[in-house]
């Protein structure tokens, strides 16, 4: 059988990069080369990003449909790589100062990215599972990376157990779907499910699949790992979990449900709508009393998962476009917020919201980026979050009007706890008025995040068109 390996160049390049960074980390003397290793990893990731961008417009399948390359998967691959680059770049000084031995830190981040990319392109259940587990195992290592810190280890074991259970539930669902249809290929599955009758086995498998993916995207009621893991993990990893892991899980969720199980849409649409509603309600309401900013952002990310899930309900190109658009702008808002959290932690050694008092005087840029990121997540015009929510919710006004109302009301509620942080930053007097010095890398990352959030809010057309093309390619298989 002829295999066109050039279609896999993104994955091969990323695997080689991960191995090189790993070997360099092992062989170079550790103290002096930390910073160089991070810069090398960013350089390599930029090259891989370039290779990925060159695949835009390719539509091909590999190994009889086990691996799918289309604009949809390229879009999400770019998203994962941009997230990895911005996070490594923006938090390099945090990693230097807070992670003692980091020879495997950057390579594990690269392998997590590789897992996401395999998962995004997966065309059958085996590839899906391998990608998912590569990502999850890398993230478990990264979450427990500060192995002398009890909090980090505790977060690691909690993530391991809940990720293990969710993988098992997901696999059980996949095995039942395999039993009901006799295929593991998503494209073949799409034909079989539309043509054939729907057996109880298939429905049961579907429900388990929703539960398994629910864990991965941290949708309520499968969200309980998120706040603990987000709080205990090193902050760059929290950011990457919130952006990369969630986006890749959404990509495969779209692939399996909209791509493979579109014939059962009436069965899963209501289920996902209820999950979305619970996530939006619970995420926003429980975020209100939080005093730790990472926990607050964790609950807010549960709510964001609920918003993104809205895009799946109609199984239409418009909905998928909304998912992709929102995932991309959520990336910039989240990275902006978490890089500020990193910078403040380096100075104050605290993640409590109270320690952000007077941040506008200590570092006007950090305070401004935090404010803009939070308001974008809340969906205040003219920021990007507003446009994203608009795209998502306009797709469901016909069938799920009740969910639109829940989304609108809860967006208003979310403004309350987002603005509470703004109030502490801008109104309160700082306890320690010394300015927070951030390196050039942090400043550049913050400015990128801020400009992207502002520009995509005022002029969303280019990204909107790109995601539209990507969504169209998803439906041409």
């Amino acid at each position: 059988m002829h295999i066109d390996y050039s279609l896999l160049s993104t994955e091969i390049a990323l695997a080689i990069l991960g191995l090189i960074v790993f070997t360099l980390g092992l062989t170079l003397p550790s103290r002096s080369t930390n910073r160089g290793l991070g810069a090398f990893a960013i350089f390599g990731l930029l090259i891989v990003l370039g290779i990925t961008v060159s695949f835009w417009g390719t539509q091909a399948e590999l190994l009889a449909g086990m691996y799918l390359i289309d604009n949809f998967s390229v879009f999400f691959k770019i998203l994962a790589l941009v997230a990895a680059i911005l996070i490594v770049f923006g938090t390099m000084s945090y990693a230097n100062n807070n992670l003692s031995r980091q020879l495997e830190y950057y390579s594990t981040i690269i392998f997590a990215t590789l897992g996401m990319i395999i998962m995004i392109s997966a065309g059958d259940f085996i590839t899906l599972y391998i990608g998912l587990e590569l990502m999850t195992v890398s993230f478990i290592i990264l979450v427990a990376f500060r192995k002398t810190d009890g909090h980090s280890l505790e977060a690691g074991i909690k993530y391991l157990i809940l990720a293990g259970v969710s993988s098992a539930v997901l696999l059980y669902g996949l095995s039942l779907i395999y039993g009901a249809t006799g295929t593991v290929y998503i494209l073949e599955l799409a034909e079989l499910v539309t043509a054939g009758t729907i057996s109880p086995l298939l429905v049961f498998g579907l429900v388990l699949l929703v539960a398994g993916f629910g864990f991965k995207i941290s949708a309520a009621p499968f969200h309980m790992w998120a706040p603990d893991v987000y709080e205990g993990a090193p902050t760059p990893i929290t950011a990457y979990l919130a952006v990369g892991s969630k986006a890749a899980s959404f990509a495969i969720l779209v692939r399996v449900f909209v791509g493979g199980l579109a014939g059962m849409q009436e069965q899963w649409a209501t289920l996902l709508a209820v999950l979305a509603a619970i996530s939006i309600l619970l995420g926003n309401l429980v975020a209100i009393p939080q005093t730790n900013i990472k926990r607050m952002l964790a609950y807010s990310s549960i709510a964001q998962a609920g918003y993104i899930m809205v895009g799946l309900l109609t199984a239409s190109p418009e909905g998928i476009k909304g998912v992709m658009f929102y995932a991309f702008i959520y990336l910039f808002a989240t990275i902006g917020a978490f890089v500020v959290v990193c910078a403040v932690y380096e100075k104050t050694k605290s993640d409590e919201i109270a320690s952000y008092a007077g941040l506008s005087q200590r570092s006007p840029l950090a305070a401004a980026v935090m404010l803009i990121s939070l308001l974008s997540m809340a969906g205040i015009p003219p920021l990007a979050g507003f446009v994203g929510k608009f795209y998502l919710f306009t797709t469901i006004t016909d069938n799920f009007m009740w969910l639109v109302y829940i989304g609108l009301i809860m967006s208003m509620v979310s403004v309350y706890y987002y603005l509470r942080v703004a109030l502490v930053m801008y109104r309160d007097e700082p306890t320690d008025p010394t300015p927070i010095k951030m390196g050039a890398a942090v400043n550049v990352t913050l400015i990128i995040a801020m400009v992207a959030t502002l520009v995509l809010g005022i002029y969303p057309t280019p990204l909107s068109e790109l995601s539209n093309i990507a969504a169209q390619s998803f439906f041409t298989w």
Binding site: F125, I126, Y129, I130, E133, V137, I140, I141, A144, K147, T148, G150, H151, L153, E154, A155, G156, I157, K158, L160, I161, G164, V165, S167, A168, V169, L171, Y172, S175, L176, Y178, G179, G182, T183, V184, L201, M224, P227, D228, E231, G232
Partner: protein
């Protein structure tokens, strides 16, 4: 090869094993016991995959290949779990999940 078994037996066997695994994860307090329970859930998946392969697609070996991947990845996960358990015992002196309450559950 003819057999008097039918797929229903295997579905019920694996469902029972899966349910025991879920019970173990929820009820057990020791990290090692919880890891064993997760392994049981994965064993249930493998029974399903191999049985479905035998009964529904005997000409292709997709289910068996899938099962081999599941076994391999499960070993990785357990290895990581045990490493974390050892690190936790060194740092916190316990393997009881109820003691891990520094982060609010």
């Amino acid at each position: 090869m003819a057999t008097s078994l039918n797929p229903t037996y295997f579905i019920f066997l694996s469902a029972a094993l899966f349910a025991i695994g879920v019970y173990g994860v929820i009820a057990k307090k020791n990290i090692i016991a919880v890891l064993v329970s997760i392994e049981m859930m994965l064993a249930a998946v493998n029974i399903n995959l191999v049985a479905f392969n035998k009964f529904f697609t005997p000409e292709a070996f997709i289910g068996q290949i899938f099962a081999i991947f599941v076994v391999t990845v499960a070993a990785v996960e357990i290895g990581l779990g045990l490493a974390l358990a050892i690190a936790l015992v060194r740092k916190r002196g316990t393997t009881n999940l109820d003691d891990f309450d520094w982060l609010k559950w």
